[in-house]
Amino acid sequence: MVAITLSRQIGSLGDEIASAVGALLGFRVICRELINQAAAAAGYPEMALALIDDFGLLGMRPSKRCCASFAAAEREVYLQFIDQGHVVLVCGDGAVMLQELPDVLHIRIIAPANLRAQRLAAQHKISVAAALARVEASDRARRVFIRKQHRTCWDDPHLYDLIINTDKVTVPDAAALICAAVNRFAGAGSPQEERHVD
């Protein structure tokens, strides 16, 4: 049972790549559902809002107790999805939480901050300066969450099996790279024994 975790920076086209990979491999793409379920299981639904709120607009301030309960519940929810197999888990901390699992490929999608800001500016019809402020706020929120919850740095390349910079790599090419990696991975890691995921 192969599964993928996909961590992405805002504006890196990570969501688009996740969708493309899901379509190519026939994998289910799971994103918001993960944190909603984990927050509900932890008994702190407000934790889901705190995680969605990259820009600090909702004003959620989860307590330490809430964060600890969430971390425990989160892992259980991730494992339930992994057990189903053939899933792309779009999440910031999947690679940290599921590092020891042998059948999970960890992907990271990045791009330079200025490029991400330009993409957001075009998408939301705002200035590049405002878009850059959003990029910085989102990066900060996600970095702080991983550091507080897992005492690690989300930019640590050792957490990931494949890191793709979408500065030059397009969405279809990134999706193709990930699919190739998954296919090799499903073939017990041997390039000679490459086979497709059924």
């Binding site: 994103c31 918001r32 909603n36 927050a39 509900a40 639904p45 407000e46 889901a48 809002l49 969605i52 709120d53 820009f55 600090g56 607009l57 909702l58 004003g59 959620m60 705002i126 200035s127 405002a130 402020a133 959003r134 706020a137």
Partner: protein, 152 residues
């Protein structure tokens, strides 16, 4: 992710409208005042006190009550929320104290989100921005200032 449905809801307070815009911005589904909780009844079973939280977020299975930062209002609402938790322990409800988010919204150019907060800095900034653009346009249209002669 479920796209929130657009509805023609009449909000009681501008902070509710601003909050909905934030929920829509993040793609969070919401329902406005969908349920009233009875808090006390008289000897005939008639409801004497009730509470209707502002929002229900179905994907998070959580009610949200908004309040401004006035301490008296917060105390009053906290009391009602404690009563709801006593009577309906299975209900998730959160009191959100809305601080001033206008500066943040302006920084991110979320003018649409800031707009419902009437008389805000957002509007002032928007007006100021328009004024600046107008001034810049006017400056472009001004005739060239004659060059001063070098007195040397």
């Amino acid at each position: 992710m479920t796209e929130p449905k657009q509805r023609n809801v009449k909000f009681v307070h501008p902070i509710e409208e601003a909050f909905v815009k934030i929920l829509n911005f993040y793609g969070i589904a919401w329902e406005y005042e969908p349920k009233t909780f009875a808090l006390s009844r008289d000897e005939n079973g008639v409801i004497t006190e009730a509470f209707t939280p502002d929002f229900f977020l179905p994907e998070q299975n959580m009610f949200i009550e908004l309040t401004t930062l006035r301490p008296q209002l917060i105390r009053h609402k906290n009391r009602k929320l404690r009563r709801i938790k006593e009577l309906y322990p299975e209900v998730n409800i959160k009191l959100l104290k809305r601080s001033d988010l206008r500066d943040l919204m302006i920084k991110y150019e979320m003018y649409d989100l800031a707009e419902p907060i009437t008389g805000t800095a957002a509007q002032a900034a928007s007006a100021q921005q328009s004024q600046q653009v107008a001034s810049a346009d006017a400056a472009l249209e001004e005739p060239d200032v004659p060059e001063q002669k070098d007195e040397q």
